[in-house]
Symmetry: C2
Subunit: 500 residues, 2 copies
């Protein structure tokens, strides 16, 4: 069995190398590639993905995994090797259940879908994208069929992002969360608006870049194993645990974009950098799920990066970078400014108190579309109605409403809820961490992030993708994903800011 395990590892590390190569090509495409190379690059990535898919679904790996099932008990159920076999088997089964014919058909539909969506968004006209969305919804229902039996048609889609998690679990969590968030923002709406006009002054790029790097260096970002570049949309990518890169974008007339974007991506990167070296070049060298990944980015961005303690330490430093812009803005005014709550149209610009509501409406629409209880043609109206119900405003057009996000155009149903779950997990972990680490607020105020990163390393990062998200969160906090810590966090923070 030892030799079979070694052979399996060899096969999986070959696939991991191919995935890393493909990721390098993808990173290069978004960061460096000259524009005229797009078509060739598409071919190169497609070739790598094809070879990867062929290898990942080979009978040889299937046979090895079958043979090794009995060996897992011997290895100890939580050992790296047993978990490797388990996760590899899960991935193998998922991949082999989907016929290649479907994979090709779906890939084609998403390529077309994205380009049509772009046009529809520019024209702010949902009717242009409607036929494609209908096709993509249909393809996603077809995809779900491959995984029957299930409790809910949405389960297999969610499972691609949150292994093992069920639609009913997410719905139950959101049912508790929604009324609390809706009530909170209603109360805040009655209060005086916070002035944040100083965030829209002219902030030259270099200062934003340098400040961001100064902070994330202190967070623990390891420049020997990473780098930061500019790209149109910020992202984190890794080519194994020893090369984890982030990108950011800088808006010279809006300070928060680069700053919190950099903190956010650093959070993702710290996770990947912290995976146990023994898991490198394997399918376990990854996050447990999208939600757990997002919990890391949101923690460094929001719970730490937008906290009073953080700015007590870093605001004087930021003022040194921008003395004319911020010299006359007090710490308190700045802190309130970067935490201002204002229901707004665009998800990616939403504040901490409203963000999850954007997600919840998307999830409800996705589920209804998959169930067939909502027709694609009625999606814009449903979007607008829910938007008014949750956030108190009505999108004036499709571009700022139902067409605003790219996700549906690549068939990414199941992705959205992970953003909100990530927020919940970040607060849940933070509560637990606050019990374990003495005076955690004081640590943040002293820019002493070492114990925080060490705690995350030990409890989350080092495990990589060994555990399913619910399993991991329960292991660490004693309970599965639950909204209460996040609700407590919001009430305490914004209660203080808005004097509620």
């Amino acid at each position: 069995m030892k030799e079979k395990l070694a052979l399996l590892k060899e096969k999986l590390s070959e696939i991991a190398d191919l995935r890393a190569a493909s990721a390098v090509l993808g990173w290069d495409q978004l960061v460096n590639m000259p524009e005229g190379a797009a078509q060739d690059r598409g071919e190169q990535i497609a070739t790598l993905e094809n070879i990867m898919h062929t290898k990942a679904t080979s009978d040889e790996i299937g046979k090895l995994l079958d043979d090794l099932q009995g060996y897992m008990g011997e290895l100890g159920p939580d050992s790296d090797d047993a978990r490797l076999i388990k996760v590899a088997k899960r991935d193998y089964d998922k991949q082999t259940k989907v016929p290649s014919e479907f994979v090709v058909r779906f890939a084609r539909a998403t390529t077309v879908g994205q380009s049509v969506w772009e046009k529809a968004k520019v024209a702010s006209d949902f009717s242009i994208f409607k036929p494609n969305l209908e096709q993509l919804v249909e393809l996603r229902r077809e995809y779900a069929e491959f995984f029957k039996p299930w409790d809910h048609v949405y389960d297999p889609l969610l499972d691609d992002f949150e292994p093992g998690m069920k639609t009913a679990e997410v719905q139950a969590i959101f049912e508790k969360l929604r009324p609390e968030q809706v009530a909170l923002i209603k109360t805040i709406a009655e209060k005086e608006k916070v002035d944040r006009s100083f965030l829209f002054l002219e902030y030259p790029e270099k200062g934003q870049w340098d400040f961001g790097e100064e902070v994330i260096t202190q967070f623990g970002y390891d420049w020997k194993h990473g780098r930061q570049d500019k790209s149109a949309h910020p992202f984190t990518t890794s080519f194994g645990i020893h090369d984890v890169r982030i990108t950011t974008r800088v808006k010279e007339n809006y300070l928060p974009t680069a700053m919190f974007g950099t903190f956010h991506e650093c959070g993702h990167a710290l996770y990947e950098m912290g995976v146990s070296p023994g898991l490198n070049r394997s399918p376990l060298a990854d996050g447990a799920s999208m939600a757990v990944h997002e919990s890391q980015s949101r923690m460094w961005e929001n719970i730490i990066g937008r906290s009073k303690e953080f700015w007590t330490r870093y605001y004087p430093r930021l003022q040194e970078y921008y003395p004319t812009q911020l010299g006359n803005v007090s710490l308190d005014a700045f802190y309130r400014g970067v935490n201002a709550v204002e229901p707004s149209l665009i998800r990616v610009e939403a504040d901490e108190a409203t963000y999850n509501l954007h997600i919840m409406l998307r999830l409800e629409l996705e589920i209804a579309l998959m169930e067939g209880s909502l027709a694609v043609k009625d999606a814009p109206q449903a979007w607008n109605e829910k938007f008014e119900e949750y956030l108190g405003i009505v999108p004036p057009n499709d571009a700022d409403g139902v067409l605003q996000d790219v996700h549906w155009s690549f068939g990414g149903f199941g992705y959205f809820p992970t953003y909100a779950l990530g927020n919940l997990v970040s607060a849940q972990l933070w509560e637990k961490m606050s019990e374990d680490i003495d005076d955690i607020d004081g640590k943040v105020a002293a820019a002493d992030f070492t114990p925080i990163l060490a705690w995350l390393r030990e409890h989350i990062h080092v495990h990589g993708a060994k555990f399913e998200p619910q399993e991991l969160v329960e292991k660490v906090t004693g309970s599965k994903i639950t909204p209460e810590p996040f609700i407590r966090y919001l009430k305490k923070k914004f209660g203080a800011i808005y004097n509620l």
Copy 2:
């Protein structure tokens, strides 16, 4: 047969994509990669190379090539398709003649060889590297055995860089060339030294970078399909014909390095960018040989970039970048400065008149090592003796003598002669071009490079790797590679500069 040809092309394009992916990883490694990622990157590239090798030597491709041999006549012997089959067959035969066991053994020896060579060079002690060089020479002889019968043991090594060319041909060319070059530099040595001290002033990086990009843009470098970055050693790489990148290095206290380096790499890049689009993603999307490639880089670097006409146009522009450094240096003094002939120890810093002599001594040693007529232990002495004979100076130590180049440490015997052959081909092509293009010197003086690039495109670039180097040069100039044009070029140019 049509379907078989289509299938062959599909298989070859998959290999081309893998090669491109590997090249992206290699470029990234030298330009961007954080230092801690080296080991993982090595694994990733090795995985890609292994898959490539397996695919390239597969029975399936072998069978297709065999079946298609009879079809070549039908296609027309110079058609793209016939040449594709021919070149693919040549590559396939070469690769399948070498056992995998040897490939692995050789790769291991070169990895060790390079790291030992580095140490030996730092210590300037040949004896450290001697056992490795002995092993590498032995491995290269073993390699040659796989290709028997041949006229000369060096033939299979040369063939890897100059397909179809024989050792005897190169020797005959160099026999004619050497006495002419030796005589020339002896005559020059009797003349007064040219002052080039102004090249060693402080030249801030940005001006060097901008001037270089200004010039190569005018040469015709296409920024939609390329980019320039910094790296420790300048190089050109391509990921297909639509993404051809160059790198340079800048020395702030020596002006020629970045400037002529940029022109040189641009010459390589223009070649790759000019290959017929129909050959993209095939083994023909490449240069005809290393010598032909080098003819392109040396033409733009030297024949154009160090010409009086070029500087008549560009020197005033360069003076605008560096008014304090060059304001009082006349055009004539500058032109003589960048063309100063001085026998020196280091090949990569050699001028046009001495460069080939560095190559010739290397070739003679390589051949003697392969023949066994020179023992590895005697290489340093042989090096020094020849050096004195050809260049009139004796290397003071191994680091600046026999250990100066990396090539032998990776077993790259056969590589060196291509540098000198490239110089010869550049002059041979230039003579022919001067017949075809009206007032070519006037064109250079007017920075009108369009007809020159168009001529190179039509006669050289567009063919990619369709023709063997001797075949291509004869096709274009009416004669195989010959030293006379280069000798005429040197005599004319340096005769004028040194008043001979």
